[in-house]
Amino acid sequence: MSEKLHNAEKTCWNCPAAKLEGNVDFRACGQSKEEARIGSEDKEVLIECKRRPELGHFQPTITFEQCPEWEESEYGYKLKDMRVLILGMDGYLGWTLSLKLANNGFDVAGLDDFTRRGASEEKGAHSIVPIYPIDERIDAAKEVLDVDIDFQQMDYTNRHELKDYLEDFQPESIVHYAEVPSAPYSMVDADHAIEVQRNNVLGTLGLLWSMKDVCPEASLVKLGCYDDETEILTEDGWKLFQDLEEDDKVATREKDDREVVFQKPNSIHEYDHEGEMYLQKNTRLDFCVTPNHRIFTQKRSNRDYKELRLESACDVDGERRVYDTGFDWNGEEKEFFTLPAADEDSEDVSIPMDTWLRFLGWYISEGHIQQRDDRPNNYSTIIKQHEDSESIEELEQVLLSLSESIDANMNKNKDDEDCYRFSIGSKQLANYLDDLGKSDEKYIPKEIKKLDKNLLEKLLFSLIAGDGWKHRPEGDRNNFRYFTNSEQLADDVQEIALKCGFGAIVSYSESKEGYQVNICQTPRVHVNHNEDKTDEWIDYDGKVYCVNVDGDGIVFVRRNGKPVWSGNTMGEYGSPLTGRALFEGIFPSDAVLQWEGKEWSMGGELTPRNPPSFYHVSKVNDTYNVYEACKYWWLRSYDIMQGVIFGVHTEEVAADPRLRTRLDVDEWFGTVVNRFTSQAATEVPLTVYGKGEQTRGFIALEDAMQCMVRLISSPPEPGQYDVVNQVSGVHKIKGLADAVGEVANDNYGMDVEVQRLENPRVEADKHPFETISRKLPNEFGFERKVSLKEEIDRMLEILTRDEIQERIESMKDAIIPETQWSGEKEEPDVIEVYKPGEKDHGVYEPKLDTGQEDGEGSE
């Protein structure tokens, strides 16, 4: 008995040949009103079929399996000779897809204005696999594959021309590859950024209006991108779960030892949980866990921490308990701080760490840099304090010590408002401090946060003296409040306070419009269940995270700014901004936003995005346009959140050299695996940016094409905007470099090394950690066919050919990145060099959740 194809049961509703217009009146915002009336019979929604007009009017209930216009194929049922228009047909993906479709019974047409060929030339980087002009490609396709592909040169942003074309061709599906796809390209300068937005956002908007007018039943398949969020303490500070880079070390401890140990988790899982959860929420605690979750707590009656145990939520419910929301910290001891030289004329200066930290605390809270216009070389670091402040003397003393260490002048003046104004004139100092940012971006540098407890205390008290002092709760000598506009600084202060042995909670103050860190002497939190019960059981339906670490499996997590030690599973509850699961782009129907006792439904809304470049912003913007168009005009669209595509191989492009698709390796357009492989092919060291521990989703070209054909074959319903994650494996960048290097060295006898460079991308530390890609396998029957190393091998086979080697040589320079994210161009520094496989990346392997039994990981 043959298994049914995955889309056998879809009906006319999904089919572009179903003529709804004139039969069904779609009102704005999704209310349809049928117009057909048959005497006194029950009113129905009736459609006509564009391909089979002889059927008259009928109900849209014919399934793909039943309909003779739909035929079986290896990608599911597909519409016979389905007309597909590819925007950007000449590109890496566009050309590959057009061959794949044409070769599989689709009627393919495409447009391109050759921007990509032009941009590559601008960069000085051509495709390292030679490609042919479009007309030769099409002739070759006819000759070799016996397929007819229609091509027209057109800039799709000319919407009148585009509309005429659409009206003529009547596409049943439109694949939009005509957006400028490069993040670095969009960050070069204003012209490039504006061009990217114009082409991507306005171009797509014009396309949508034209579709509405002349081919509203066509589905739009386009590429999107997204970002997401959740929190655990790592060596680099608090990180959202989704942002965890694989080599991040998370804070753990043993039951009987309060000393915090940072270690890499063995695994992190995200899964669905529907059922009860135990919620503990009060002024100092906030956690939500599954019933069997192990809570780290002790019975109230004990005085010290020795009796902390892991108990299940069921055991703890209703009992008095104490929670430990802090830890013991042993950090680095450093005697001196090195203030870097400002220019060639100056030198690094050593400052006693004690002095530096005390100064830094004051500066962060109260200081700013001033440059005088009339004396451009005169930089002052300024700190002001009211004369009534208790700490004036202390401040003065710190500033004197500092200015002596750096051999600068310190001035003290009083102004009209009875404030003392201390200023130190030093370009070197000002330069360094300037990088710490303006008031709402301030933060505490990582190296400082690693210091030992006794040093951090100095910093902490200076910070508080500089600011928190003013906010100390009335008559309360034991607790402090620190206020800042900078979210990052609030997190950092909390982290330092915790490391000093205090309890600390971060919260956002609406009235003050800033962040408040409440620091208490003790991290012990008592929960009294007799009166003022603050825990409850709730019904939950959402995501749950499970972190697997060595030892007792206790990790330090934080929700809504309130940290706590927890057993290794935690639930997801609370405001969407600090704890939201990956919903594949759209909130589920029962998602709810709660605030001040009120609730709003978030069901069906787009999840917030956090785009890291102007290219990414353009994608977010046009996602909104597409979403709205689907809502207003009942258009249909798949937004594909694509993993990084790599590779050069499909059956069709490999059939003949003239059919080859482009392979870019430059910084603007080359995707990482393609770059590594070409670097390996010329035995140039593989360049890894930053720590190389960013985890990203990947998919081989062939598998990406499989996904696309499946999605095109199984269109969405009228009005449906669906987000689909297209990823077949997750890897860390470093792991990719290793894989490429290993294949090169093992299979091709090369001697390839890996080198780490400074990271030109702003977003490196906060990269989404994709774990969920279920729709493609579950709803569209996708199965990964190509492994990472297989594809690398296929690529190397081509790239090691002599003629290709020459081409790569000529492009070597294009492979080093020039674009700095801030818009300046510089050559980045090399941080280290090693052989692939030499560095131990730990046992941790990223997991890809496909909702199926063998979760696929990296190879």
């Binding site: 004139g22 039969n23 009336r37 005497g39 006194s40 059927l55 009017h57 009928f58 399934t63 039943q66």
Partner: protein, 422 residues
């Protein structure tokens, strides 16, 4: 067309021979009474089933349903359980105005939507969801709008109240009259065909008003036909000696006693298995194991394996099931009365290339039993509509080239106006 004269055809949907005979005898339709003396007036047998779509389909093509392919208002699409409503695209034979030379004005023939290109002009009759596609040429649309032209009465209103029904009937009829007058002069036609369909609507709702002289709306009922008679007279004045006039209806009407739900019986007897999944609509509820199911107007189909997605009847079983079902319905009684007059197998009544799609069994009911195709457990029930179809239509013809055969059926119509066509 071979005649030197013109052809005029007036259709009155759903008017039985007995009704128009009586109305003309009793001085309600005096113009028609006069015409009766000048020409030939006969009973005409309607199609099986006696439904407007099948009947008009037969009338305008001159072919058997086995040839033109329209077996009812609705049909099941091959290979599915999806219900479709036949329209002009579904015809497998051409209408007479598409086949032959000459210029035609065709107004309001049911089941001819969407209007297709032809020589002259064409306004389709019910069911026409979209006015824009109901008219050829498109340029006529403006004129129609001016005249507040309506294709059909709004039956919903009819269900609400008789007052609204009459209002609708009147408005529709008057607009129809306006347009015929306009087109009569506007085109230089050879054949002019005008169909009134309000009659069918009126009779469905208010047949009892006709039968009962004391009924509140009896007079209004008659007024409707008086008005039609006026127009008949008007048209008769306009035509000359050489011209021919044919009048006909597509089926008759009689009093409904009960709506009979054949599927309830089939289910009870184990031939029909139905899913209770609410998401499944209409005939998609049919489950595997079903041997037969019924559509509207007495049509029964075997759930053949080769024809339907959940079909289970093999070729070998066909005959047995057919004879079982036949026997069952032939013996069926409701409140002591026989329900079914005759049971036909498809070859008995249909012939032609579309016979595979024909129902395996067609039931012709006794008077008063209206055969329905709902999927329900209720065997029979009263109907909100007092009139139901029967097979007794009429035909009338005058003019030297018009000759009406004996015992005419709807298949004969085209030959009455097309002498030369073989």
């Amino acid at each position: 067309m071979s005649n030197e004269g013109k052809n005029v055809v007036i259709g009155i949907d759903g008017v039985p021979y007995t009704l128009i005979e009586e109305l003309s005898d009793e001085g309600i339709m005096t113009n028609f009474a006069k015409l009766r003396e000048e020409g030939s007036f006969k009973k005409m047998e309607s199609s099986i089933p006696a439904i407007s779509s099948t009947s008009w389909g037969t009338i305008i093509t001159g072919k058997n349903p086995g040839q033109h392919g329209i077996y009812g208002f609705t049909d099941i699409i091959q290979g599915t359980y999806t219900l479709s409503f036949s329209n002009f695209h579904s015809f497998k034979e051409s209408a007479f105005w598409q086949e032959n030379d000459g210029e035609y004005v065709i107004i309001n023939v049911p089941t001819t939507y969407p209007a297709q290109e032809m020589n002259g002009c064409h306004i389709s009759g019910f069911v026409s969801p979209n006015m824009d596609k109901a008219v050829y040429p498109e340029s006529l649309l403006e004129k129609l709008e001016e005249m507040d032209y309506k294709i059909d009465v709004d039956s919903e209103k009819g269900h609400k109240s008789e007052r609204l029904l009459f209002k609708e009937l009147e408005e529709t009829l008057e607009a129809r009259i306006k347009i015929y007058r306009y087109l009569w002069d506007e085109y230089d036609w050879d054949t002019f065909m005008l169909v009134f369909t309000g009659s069918d609507r009126l009779e469905h709702f208010l047949w009892d008003a006709y039968e009962d002289p004391n009924h509140k709306y009896h007079d209004k009922f008659l007024d409707f036909f008086r008005r039609i008679d006026e127009i008949i007279g008007e048209i008769d004045e306009k035509i000359g000696e050489e011209d021919s006039l044919v009048m006909l209806s597509d089926h008759g009407m009689e009093r409904t006693k009960y709506n009979v739900n054949l599927n309830a019986y089939l289910k009870e007897e184990g031939y029909l298995k139905v899913s209770d999944d609410e998401n499944k609509d209409k005939y998609n509820k049919i489950e595997k194991g079903t041997k037969a199911f019924a559509l509207e107007h007495g049509r029964i189909y075997l759930n053949k394996k080769k024809d339907y997605p959940r079909g289970s009847v093999e070729r070998g079983d066909k005959d047995k099931i057919i004879s079982e079902i036949k026997e069952f319905f032939q013996n069926l009684e409701i409140e002591g009365e026989k329900v079914i007059k005759k049971v036909h197998e498809k070859e008995e009544i249909y012939r032609g290339g579309q016979i595979d799609n024909a129902p395996d069994l067609t039931l012709v009911p006794e008077s008063g039993f209206n055969l329905r195709g709902k999927i329900t457990d209720k065997f029979y029930e009263e109907s909100p509509l007092t009139g139901m179809h029967n097979r007794e239509a009429f035909i009338y013809g005058k003019g030297k080239n018009v000759s009406i055969p004996n015992k005419p059926t709807v298949e004969d119509f085209t030959s009455t106006i097309q002498k030369e066509v073989a």
